[in-house]
Assembly symmetry: C2
Homo-oligomer: 371 residues x 2
DNA sequence: TATTAGCACTCTCAAGGCAAGAGTGCTAAG
DNA sequence: CTTAGCACTCTTGCCTTGAGAGTGCTAATA
């Protein structure tokens, strides 16, 4: 099948990757022979290792220190060598059960997915909330008095998105009054996008007899503000979990990583900032949103230098064209790719199912013509 | 005033604390004399240092390595020596401005408070959401169809708490139908606590002619579930931010902390777990909720061994008897207490003001923004 | 031609030793 | 009570050294 590698070299590359992923220590020719009962001597394996190194799949840190896979080595492993497994059935069941327990609570899904990903793959996780590719569309507004001069506005949008805003009332208003005004504004704005609402408000203001009274206009402005805020905020929203899991990897533990402890700490801080700020993964998210299946980005393959030591396993989840998000694992390049990939695949399909159940038959709003 | 310490010893203790907090290095007699132009020789200062050590306010790591404050030393400093400052006016203004920008968005306050605390005090922050001391009280229920067989229930409780739940509909229902049922359930349950709702449901079930139809009962059960979930969850909810800020303290940077890098890493991981799990600060939160003013817990003074190397500065915020939460700073015992305390004091009073505006039933004059 | 045994070579890693430096504690004098 | 002076202690960094690990190479072998 693949790029002119003899069977044996492929086998050895595979073993090196597996061994290194497992132990986090450079793997020696001798160790391979002993552990896997290859029918050959260590010298032969050494020759093969040297060849694999020439081909760019392995490296040395120094003259005499076992081999370590390069990014290309991992890539070849992922593409051609690894066995495609799935999570075990008990694991799947356990995860499904956890999602079952928060059924209905849409806003918990993202968080749960992050936690499960992290724990299952023993690395950090990234999840973006499901988002519609269509612009946000207003549905419904509800006013609840908190006291005489204050009310809570609950704004409901298509797709089950809910925002709350408090507002100061210009005058004392009865609950009935509030309900009537809210109903009126809801009716006027229902199914409109942000553009639609703004347009409506503009044209209405020019009418000799505006349909929006003062208070209604105040509410509409609130809606506009909230929609603006949402559009801005949602771009960047990346939920992340599993920092501790990732930092339990040997890379971050100086005693295990045979090297300067200083390094480990810097790496730790570095990882922290990547997760906190989402820096270095800017293009990856939209890219993953546009593709199908599980994406694997290994080390410096794609993104900036920042990420040179990390790999990312990402997948899209959601309902075609309606709502979608991205979820995945991030960790050191020395990652258990088969497990990460099957975890991401399983969770993403699970989330997709959940969302499909929710959105599949949704009545779509009447078509509206605006840019 | 305080425990038989001469003026000079107090001065020296104060200087040692300040110096150590600033530099994170053990402070030497010589350095003190030079830097602060004490009119005496280093030998004199050494005698005083020795005395302060005998009294338990300072220690040595080893024979010849400057002094470091003990927990008792910090305590004395906080109680008697430090100057009570406030945040500078420009800082206050900047912070107020940030809160102004999220006015109305109740659910952002906690997050913002956490971020501001952390950035201002350069340590990690803890914030619990404002919570009523009264049990949760239902107010209002709203149903919005998502598609034929699915609806979103928006549950509004007293105090502006909103939960959302999706539910599967037993039959196709018109929007009007949904509104009517929601209104009916709202009316029946309004102002009830969890106990109240459960009781009502129980007695109603025994009536020959129950007021709750099948669908209404389903909704009521949903309410019960949500209230249960809230009561359980809210206990533990601690929002935390500023991990990076805290980990930028020299304690966590092996190059600066003159000691085993191993230590620094372990400490880092340890801090991480404390923040993630809230372990080790169990009793502190309720305790702070019950007290007034800013609490300072230094090192092992109070909690478990876990926290021996950390200090916490906590304050309650909220409206008397109505809603309250706790916010504060956590960091190494070598902490800039004056700044932490004034930060916590300021943010807590700011949050209190915001909440008061929201919950007090007195009509307040419209706020003037003089930015 | 592919494999293998043997061996020299390289580099790391841990331990030990050594010198410099920092800062104290103590003593004795002012 | 203060201070100068000095010995003493402990750290820290640097260097050296020896052991060990694992390779790369060479030459013999099937």
């Amino acid at each position: 099948m693949a790029a002119g590698l003899t069977e044996r070299r492929q086998l050895i590359l595979k073993l090196v990757v597996q061994e290194f992923v497992e132990t986090a220590m450079p793997v020696a020719s001798d160790a391979l022979v002993r552990k896997y009962r290859l029918g050959v001597s260590s010298a032969t394996v050494r020759n093969e290792l040297a060849a694999l190194e020439d081909l760019g799949y392995l490296t040395h840190l120094y003259t005499s220190a076992g081999r370590v896979p390069t990014d290309a080595g991992y890539r070849f492993f992922v593409e051609n060598l690894m066995e495609r497994t799935s999570l075990s059935l008990p694991e799947q069941r356990m995860i499904r059960h956890q999602f079952y327990q928060v059924r209905g609570e849409l806003d918990q899904w993202v968080q749960l997915a992050g936690a499960v990903l992290a724990r299952t793959a023993q690395n950090a996780s990234l999840v973006t909330p499901p988002r519609s590719s269509d612009p946000l569309r207003f549905r419904h507004l509800e006013l609840v008095a908190i006291h005489e001069s204050m009310a809570l506005a609950v704004l409901v949008f298509h797709g089950g998105i809910v925002k709350q805003q408090t507002l100061t009332l210009d005058a004392d208003r009865s609950p009935d009054d509030l309900r009537r005004v809210a109903g009126r504004v809801s009716d006027l704005l229902t199914d409109l996008t942000l553009n639609g609402v703004e347009e409506l408000l503009n044209t209405d203001a020019q009418q000799p007899q505006p349909s929006f009274g003062d208070f209604e206009r105040l509410l509409a402005d609130l809606v506009v503000r909230a929609m603006h805020a949402f559009e801005e905020q949602v771009q960047e929203q990346i939920y992340s979990d599993g920092l501790i899991e990732m930092l339990s990897q040997p890379e971050f533990i100086p005693a295990l990583a045979r090297e300067d402890a200083e390094r480990a700490v810097q790496r730790m801080r570095h990882a922290l900032e990547i997760l906190k700020s989402g820096r270095g993964l800017g293009q990856l998210i939209p890219q993953a949103l546009a593709s199908d299946g599980v994406q694997v980005i290994i080390g410096g393959e794609n993104s900036t230098n920042e990420m040179r030591e990390y790999s990312i396993v990402l997948a899209r989840y959601g309902v075609d064209r309606a709502v979608a998000g991205v979820l995945g694992i991030i960790g050191p390049t020395r990652m258990a790719y088969p497990r990460s990939i099957s975890t991401v695949r399983y969770i993403s399909s699970l989330m997709s199912d959940l969302l499909t159940e929710l959105y599949s038959t949704e009545q779509r709003p009447p078509e509206e013509d605006n840019a």
